[in-house]
């Protein structure tokens, strides 16, 4: 006894309603996540973009023997507290480098103190009324302006916020990631190739696979303790260096690279291997000439994503000491260094108001690099994608 279309449709109404509800719930979840993302990025941008500006004052600077001894004497009295102490400290060095400066008085743009900077940006500052009056006059004259903050991108950390920049942290991150890559990529890929193509399928290799999967889920701070115990205490490597930091992050990234490489190798169809064996390739030739080239997009994507994750790790690097105060950018992997997330962490703990915007700006820089790395991963994948 069959039912008419109307009978069936009546029963279906409830099911269609439930389907619609599920659809709206999932769209709602997506919208919620997107909202959080937009709010977060918007907040960071609002907080951080002032860091890309730095107040400067256009004042006459007197280069004389007196100012060489006491740099404070080089500028007029009313702006002495407004000019950056760091800039004044450089004066003797500038004069030693350029003898022609002696005896001249030059009108030039000078980096302002961080309190001036905060006042001009509209935040609360510790300036006294007399100083703010001077400043207001200078703003009207056009001798006090917010210019592009080149120091943020060229200098390292500093006790003076106006001279604090992320360059040393950026160099530290680059060196650390290079060490991580140099260690984790070859070891990870070769391990995965061995496990996938050469190892026999027995209890032992299955145990290894389980353990590697578990290692990928271990909290990263434990790798920091591992790095401390092995690299610093046992091998005696320099503390706080990109070498130790890179090796620690490398250990952390190794399971991720192994897992993604194995999955990329598995995705190569077996018919290719059989064809290669059929024409008389040895097992290593099958892997090198046929399997690896085809699995390269997957391997690269996985490695870049693993690297991007490593880049954002702070906890293990804190344990191995990379959260020190680093004013100069490191030039070798054995020198003390810090990394972007650690620098952000340090600045977030500083009391001066000016560091708030620099923290947010540091976050923006870190996010941009992460986005770039992920975009590179997507692009590489598309480029090497092949049909078979």
């Amino acid at each position: 006894m069959s039912h008419s279309f109307d009978d069936i449709s009546a029963q279906l109404k409830g099911r269609h309603r439930r389907t619609k509800r599920l659809k709206f719930m999932s769209m709602g979840a997506l919208a919620l996540a997107a909202t959080f993302l937009v709010v977060f990025i918007g907040d960071m941008v609002m907080r951080g973009y002032p860091a890309f500006q730095q107040a400067e004052l256009h004042v006459p600077v007197t280069y004389s023997e007196q100012s060489q001894e006491i740099p404070l004497a080089a500028v007029e009295e009313d702006v002495r507290d407004l000019v950056s102490r760091g800039w004044l400290r450089q004066l003797p060095r500038d004069m030693a480098a350029d003898a022609s400066l002696m005896g001249q008085t030059i009108d030039r743009w000078v980096i302002a103190d961080d309190q001036v900077d905060q006042y001009l940006k509209g935040h609360k500052s510790h300036l006294k009324p007399k100083q703010t009056a001077v400043l207001d006059r200078m703003v009207e004259n056009g001798t006090a302006e917010l210019k592009f903050n080149i120091n943020f991108f060229t200098t390292g950390d500093s006790k003076l916020p106006e001279y604090a920049g992320i360059w040393s942290a950026a160099m530290g991150t680059i060196l650390t990631l290079l060490v991580t890559l140099a260690f984790a990529f070859p070891v990870g890929v070769l391990t995965a190739v061995y496990l996938e193509e050469f190892a026999p399928d027995n209890r032992f290799t299955q145990a290894i696979e389980i353990n590697i999967n578990n290692l990928a889920a271990v909290p990263s701070i434990l790798f920091g303790l591992l790095g401390l115990a092995i690299f610093i205490n046992f091998f005696g490597m320099p503390r706080s260096s990109p070498l130790v930091g890179g090796l620690t992050l490398g250990l952390m990234t190794l399971p991720v690279i192994i897992i993604t490489t194995r999955s990329a190798l598995r995705s190569v169809p077996d018919t290719i291997r059989q064809a290669a064996f059929g024409v008389g390739c040895s097992r290593w030739q099958v892997v090198r000439d046929h399997v690896l080239p085809l699995s390269l997009p997957g391997i690269l994507t996985g490695s870049i994503i693993g690297l991007a994750q490593a880049m954002g790790e702070t906890a293990p690097l804190i344990i191995v000491g990379m959260v020190a105060f680093i004013p100069d950018a490191p030039t070798a992997i054995t020198q003390a260094a810090t990394v972007l997330p650690a620098q952000i962490f340090t600045w977030a703990g500083e009391p001066e108001q000016a560091y708030v915007e620099r923290t947010a700006a540091g976050i923006l820089v870190l996010l941009s690099v992460l986005i770039l790395l992920n975009a590179a991963a997507v692009m590489l994948r598309k480029k090497f994608e092949r049909r078979w």
Partner: protein, 280 residues
């Protein structure tokens, strides 16, 4: 049950295990591969039982039988492709050129240079057509200069009947060809290393009738240079191309005979039932 039959219907040459019941006197019957008492297990399950067969040179030998009877497994024994499967155990002798193929001192890579294989589903390398052919000879140090490689590629493609169709597109990927062309490319790839034996595992089952006919003509042409052993589900194909036919059933070699005799006057009841279509 071994291959020699209890009561041959007609007088045959003195048969030893492995030789066909009726030998075609005009055809070449030097041995290419000799198989003696071959047994194979997948784990606990025995897939090949006491196979005895002589494969002759420069002939087409067809292996027929219902699904699951062990023909493909047997074919893979001839070039040790079963080594790639983990739970396989082999006992018995597979002999080529007087040497045991499964012995410890036999390099399976060397074996696969002399015994090539064409698979059921065409599987050209994801390289250009040129590189598909040139890859293996280069790897085996058969050619090194560019000019020699060009000649080798051209002659392999001509022998496979593919040259005219691809001579202008040698740079294109092998996977861009049609199914029949891909299979001929795989055949060209196999003959480029100049093997002695070519194994073909149901080479035309994934192809349309016209490509199938082309490849069957090819087999006829190639047998002047190579010994061909082909597994086929298609009895009519075996009747068309093969000189000798071996009938497998449930892991045993039931009958091995000259093709004409196999299809007109088979010796065993099982073979007769299969050929007349009573089961399959």
């Amino acid at each position: 049950m071994n291959s020699t039959v209890a009561t041959p219907a007609k007088p045959a040459a003195a048969t030893r295990p492995g030789s066909p019941v009726v030998i075609n006197e005009d055809a070449n019957h030097e041995l290419a591969i000799r198989v003696e008492d071959l047994n194979l297990w997948y784990g606990e399950k025995q897939a090949l039982k006491n196979i005895n067969i002589d494969i002759f040179q420069k002939n087409v030998t067809a292996l027929i039988g219902p699904s699951g009877c062990g023909k493909s497994t047997f074919l893979r024994c001839l070039n040790r492709m079963n080594d790639l499967i983990r739970s396989v155990r082999i006992e018995g002798l597979v002999e080529m050129d007087g040497r045991d193929v499964n012995a410890r001192n036999m390099d399976e890579v060397a074996l696969r240079r002399r015994v090539g294989m064409v698979f059921q589903k065409p599987n050209p390398f994801p390289k250009s057509i040129y590189d598909n052919i040139a890859y293996a000879p280069t790897m085996h140090d058969l050619v090194s200069r560019r000019a020699d490689k060009d000649d080798l590629v051209e002659s392999a493609l001509r022998d496979a009947g593919l040259w005219e169709e691809v001579k202008d597109i040698l740079d294109q990927p092998g996977t861009s060809l049609s199914g029949g062309q891909q299979q001929r490319l795989c055949i060209a790839r196999a003959i480029a290393v100049k093997p002695d034996v070519i194994l073909m595992d149901e080479p035309t089952s994934a192809l349309d009738p016209i490509s199938t006919a082309t490849i069957e003509d090819l087999m006829d042409k190639l047998k002047t240079q190579f010994s061909i052993v082909t597994v086929t589900h298609n009895m009519q194909q075996a009747a068309r191309v093969a000189d000798y036919t071996a009938f497998f059933h449930m892991g045993e070699l039931v009958e091995y005979n000259d093709t004409k005799t196999m299809f007109s006057n088979p010796n065993t009841k099982k073979a007769e039932d299969y050929i007349t279509g009573r089961y399959g």
